[in-house]
């Protein structure tokens, strides 16, 4: 048998992927971010009702490195980034792999507006022409990206307004089926001001009750990154973890231990903002790939 030709054909995208990762590293290093590595296998994740872990010998593969990243912030590391693999059980589709690559970065004494600016600068560095060709779209990166609140996005695109969708339990369905496809089509969109109950680790907005300082970045209808002004109120954090963990256990999911070390150190954490960006999806956008399978050498089905 000759070599695996389908794998050979991925070479141009895998070469571009390697260059993209190098550019990302240089972006953060120039800004004095420290690159760190935290354990992939941990006793438990930050509890979230709809993110399921993969077990590993009594512990869990991490679904995101956020708890360890914030413990580093609390210990005085002011600018941090990490490029790592994360695992989420059952997530497989044209934009999902159960094992995927994540870029996370955190900045002390900043809020989520700082991260919006950095997203704009990072994407412009990766696309020097300022025009991103993806499918039949031509997305303008040169102007400030669109800022759109969740409430306004629902008014424009959903079948229900935001309050109705929340009460009826149809928020995710409306967002996925009716709102997301419209976002980030002409220029990237920051979807901002999430309802507090949808932002377990985000700080509440100082002047707008019921709203958290969380945004998601969308490009070409694709969710690319999720960011918060981080919650630093230990009691509030414990309360929100309890709510999420109760939901998880009611759904029969494997229990997480309460992340006591994280909660204890959280009181020492400075005001900070943090963001998680799907690296495979970013590579999809930059290499004009329709499926996440095209930007990784080995999707799980081919192992």
């Amino acid at each position: 048998m000759e070599g695996n030709w389908a794998l050979t054909c991925k070479r141009p995208r895998l070469e571009q992927r390697s260059r993209i990762v190098q550019t990302i590293r240089s972006f953060f290093v120039q800004r004095h971010y420290l690159e760190v590595e935290t354990p992939h296998r941990t006793p438990g994740n930050a509890p979230e009702a709809y993110i399921d872990p993969i077990g590993s010998d009594g512990w869990f593969l991490h679904t995101s490195p956020e708890l360890c990243m914030k413990r580093l912030l609390a210990a005085g590391y002011r600018r941090l980034f990490q490029i790592c693999r994360c695992w989420r059980a059952g997530e497989r589709g044209a934009r999902h792999l159960p094992e995927f690559a994540m870029l996370e970065w955190y900045a002390a004494e900043c809020d989520y507006h700082h991260l919006m600016t950095e997203c704009e600068e990072l994407l412009r560095l990766l696309v020097p022409s300022g025009r991103l060709a993806y499918g039949n779209r031509n997305i303008d990166l040169s102007r400030p990206f669109e800022r759109l609140t969740v409430a306004e996005a629902f008014r424009r695109h959903a079948q229900l307004d935001l309050a109705e969708a929340l009460v009826a339990g149809h928020f995710d369905e409306q967002l996925t089926l009716h709102v997301e496809p419209h976002l980030g089509q002409l220029q990237p969109t920051f979807l901002t001001e999430y309802p507090t109950e949808l932002a377990a680790l985000a700080r509440s907005h100082p002047t707008r009750p019921g709203v958290a300082e969380r945004f998601e970045l969308y490009v070409a209808g694709m969710e690319l990154a999720n960011a918060f002004s981080e919650l630093t109120d230990v009691r509030e954090q414990r309360r929100r973890f309890d709510i999420e963990e109760t939901l998880r256990r009611e759904a029969g999911k494997p229990p997480y231990p309460v992340p006591e070390k994280f909660l204890a150190e959280l009181s020492a954490m400075p005001e900070a903002a943090g963001i998680a960006l799907g690296l495979d999806r970013l590579v999809m956008l930059l290499t004009d790939a329709e499926s996440i399978d095209q930007v990784v050498a080995f999707p799980p089905e081919l192992l």
Partner: protein, 187 residues
């Protein structure tokens, strides 16, 4: 019962007492939110296509269809004719029931016929089939870059992408589940 994690292209479900097959599937999920499973389904009896979106927690009755080992005999105006090698009973499937699979049928190929009562409503092919390239542009000398491809048509009339070094007359192996080139076959 099946759960949403069993849904994928090719999964067969009973809906309103009739077998359906998922012909297109996508998993979507807001990072922090609930998953949705978007399916295009084909009613295996009527052939009609429709879209359905399912949410986590829903359950499904699997369509357990009787499968019969049969051999492909020939094609005529009524459709594709298969025969059970033991009972010599014959079953005819209309072209619509095969879709793209018709391109991967080779004379005397042993396949599984999915039965609904006495009726053949679908077919399971071997995972790989060998077909000869009948038409493809010649290889351009000097074009040695890895992963270069070109279209080629095989004996059944099916067109697919192949590596540029594959020439007319070459026997190639195709994955019948994806319709993609796998390798050249040594003769």
């Amino acid at each position: 019962m099946l759960s949403t994690s069993d849904l994928r292209k090719g999964t067969k479900l009973m809906i309103d007492g009739e077998p359906h097959v998922i012909v297109q599937f996508d998993f979507t999920k807001p990072g922090k939110g609930q998953a949705l499973y978007k399916c295009k389904l084909r009613n295996m009896i009527s052939g009609s296509l429709f879209d359905r979106t399912y949410r986590s927690g829903e359950t499904f009755e699997p369509a357990t269809l009787q499968e019969c080992d049969m051999q492909f005999l020939y094609r005529d105006e009524s459709g594709y004719v298969f025969m059970d090698q033991k009972s010599y009973e014959q079953v005819t499937l209309p072209e619509e029931a095969l879709g793209e699979q018709k391109y991967f049928l080779v004379d005397n190929m042993e396949v599984k016929i999915l039965m609904f009562g006495e009726r053949g409503i679908g077919i399971t092919l071997p995972n790989f089939v060998n077909l000869r390239v009948t038409q493809s542009e010649p290889w351009v000398k000097g074009d040695t870059a890895a992963g270069n491809n070109k279209p080629a048509t095989v004996a059944s009339g099916y067109t697919l992408q192949v590596p540029s070094f594959v020439e007319e007359g070459t026997l190639i192996q195709i994955d019948t589940r994806t319709g993609e080139y796998v390798t050249r076959v040594k003769e």
